[in-house]
Symmetry: D2
Subunit: 111 residues, 4 copies
């Protein structure tokens, strides 16, 4: 059970960090894949990360007069799995009811 608590803590750290690191970046549908990859690779460097997948919802972009958008929290669709010893915790960041919601999907012992 302590492992599940720690794994959830680690998942929270990564989601909170990526959100505030990257929000505000100039972005367009053409550059989104590069940013997705840069975020995934940055998160994967951190301790306890088993997997991470980042998608940016380009349909939520609203280009300004200069033709680009700013990456906002609402565009994020992130799934992450952290592991502490034998316990894996899956969590997500997803836009729900007007709010970029972070939640735990599952925490369980994993081989």
């Amino acid at each position: 059970m302590q492992d599940a608590i720690e794994a959830a803590f680690e998942a929270g750290i990564k989601l909170g960090a990526l959100y505030h690191q990257w929000v505000g970046t100039p972005i367009s549908p053409q550059t989104a894949p590069t940013v997705e990859q840069a975020i995934e690779r940055a998160v994967a460097l951190q301790p306890c990360v088993e997997s991470v997948r980042v998608r940016i919802d380009t349909s939520l972009m609203a280009p300004n007069a200069f033709g680009y958008s700013e990456l906002s929290g609402s565009m994020f669709d992130v799934a992450i799995t952290t592991r502490v010893r034998g316990t894996a915790c899956s969590a997500q960041l997803k836009f729900e009811d007007g709010y970029p919601m972070m939640r735990i999907v599952s925490c369980h012992e994993a081989p």
Copy 2:
């Protein structure tokens, strides 16, 4: 136990977020109290936060040629308590062995 996992997740989110939101800010011993207060008040707005205390270790500042420093992760000394229903989780961000370490201090049922 689910509450403890969620409370730990929420504590992780806040620590990860504040770290990456504020690292890089120009800072000096004179401006540190204002930044401490601004961070505390920003964190306290977020869901599940019961208390937060931020101290910036001014002794780690190394002023550049222009007389100021940049806020780095090593300067942070943060204590936070989150609560999900009846469970409170206390965590900290503190410089240990050359690394700004985030750890859970305790998670337990609280009145």
Copy 3:
């Protein structure tokens, strides 16, 4: 004339920096004055800054389900004056036509 070019460059650096440092911070009408002050004090530490005034337009805040907003570029109203030797350059960051616009207001020799 070289001084005017350098003073404008310095003003641009400060506006670009503060925008991307602070966007995304959780904020409310109650905490806005502390954030305004923290930004002003951080900018004032940097070289060539003669004065800076930051106002956050609380009327543009749209509280989420948890009762707070995120600081967005559109909320900024910033006036800055930089100086390089005998030339002062005044610039601003202001919401115009749906875009947080940065512009030079004036550059001129100043006693």
Copy 4:
């Protein structure tokens, strides 16, 4: 001359912005090329940018106990050219004497 002042202002905005947007990102020699590309593409979206080249000095990385570094200002080697009407301004961000220095290289009329 007004064009040179505006081009320098725009170059300053881009350098200040990228610095504070990206500092703090977890990074390693293996992930540096992806981050360089993500920054270049983000900057190139913004108005008045004619060209931008970002290099991250991997020799300055000091891996922590978990094997990765944080992107710091000292690692940046950035060259940018902005243009306002007929005037081009080239500027750079480079580590000099312990400080990540931003300077104008040249501003001149360009065909």
